[in-house]
């Protein structure tokens, strides 16, 4: 067998993350609209989520779609016969309302395709609302049963609460 030489890829624009937007969490709902359809995946990073009311978690909704039974989430390694039964996907554990050192990472796959339902992977680190030196974590999948491209994301506090602070960074991944 002859010598082989590794040749670097010449395909441009492959890999890498581009920061699309930075938004401070405020009010009851924060919406990112007109998300550019120029990437393969989206990554949402939420830093220091702080709800106004203690022990609240954060939710995300695709395309501002509050239609019944369009969102779902799952924590099991695998499952069958699941149902879409929610109007949003939980993206954090309950967080303290004074200490917000948490980090949330959500990757939305193939968000601009118009032929499949959508899916995201969610990983969260939150500040425990009872003992703020403790933490909560969760790893789950979120699902949305519509096939349209994702062009907006809403962020909501559980049970009608407000955001005190926090930052949402939206990245596009090629």
């Amino acid at each position: 067998m002859g010598n082989r030489t590794l040749v670097p890829s010449t395909t441009p624009g492959q890999g890498g993350m581009t920061l699309i937007s930075t938004t401070t969490l405020s009010g009851a709902t924060v919406s990112l609209t007109s998300i550019p359809a120029t990437y393969n995946n989206l990554v949402v990073v939420v830093r220091n989520f702080l709800p106004a009311t203690d022990s609240k978690y954060m939710l995300m909704r695709f395309n501002g779609d509050s239609g019944a039974n369009r969102h779902a989430e799952g924590t099991a390694l695998g499952a069958t016969a699941q149902t879409f039964s929610a109007t949003s996907v939980g993206i954090s554990q309950r967080n303290d309302n004074a200490v917000g050192n948490g980090l949330i990472n959500v990757e939305i796959f193939d968000y601009k395709n118009t032929t499949t339902q959508k899916m995201c992977r969610i990983e969260t680190l939150t500040t425990d609302p009872t003992t703020t030196t403790n933490f909560g974590y969760q790893r789950l999948l979120g699902f949305y049963n519509q096939t349209g491209a994702i062009s907006s994301l809403d962020f909501i506090v559980e049970s009608g609460g407000n955001f005190t602070s926090g930052t949402v960074l939206l990245y596009g991944v090629k």
């Binding site: 699309i20 937007s21 938004t23 401070t24 969490l25 405020s26 009010g27 009851a28 709902t29 924060v30 919406s31 990112l32 609209t33 007109s34 998300i35 550019p36 939710l59 509050s66 929610a86 109007t87 949003s88 909501i156 559980e158 049970s159 009608g160 407000n162 939206l170």
Partner: protein, 69 residues
Amino acid sequence: MSKPMVRIHDLSTNTITDREMTDEEFAQYEADQAEMAARIAAKAAEAIAKAALLTQLGITEEQAKLLLS
């Protein structure tokens, strides 16, 4: 009484708008609360069922975690 505020970040123009919810958005907001309350109740029921199962099995939550690890 004023309605809750919403923040909209339009990424096509990088414009951020803060405004009160419209009547339609507020109606949805209230409907969301009902759904979330139901979701919380379901999780609480699940926790109770889990505790009952542990009692039935005669093991602690830590022992159950050890079994599943």
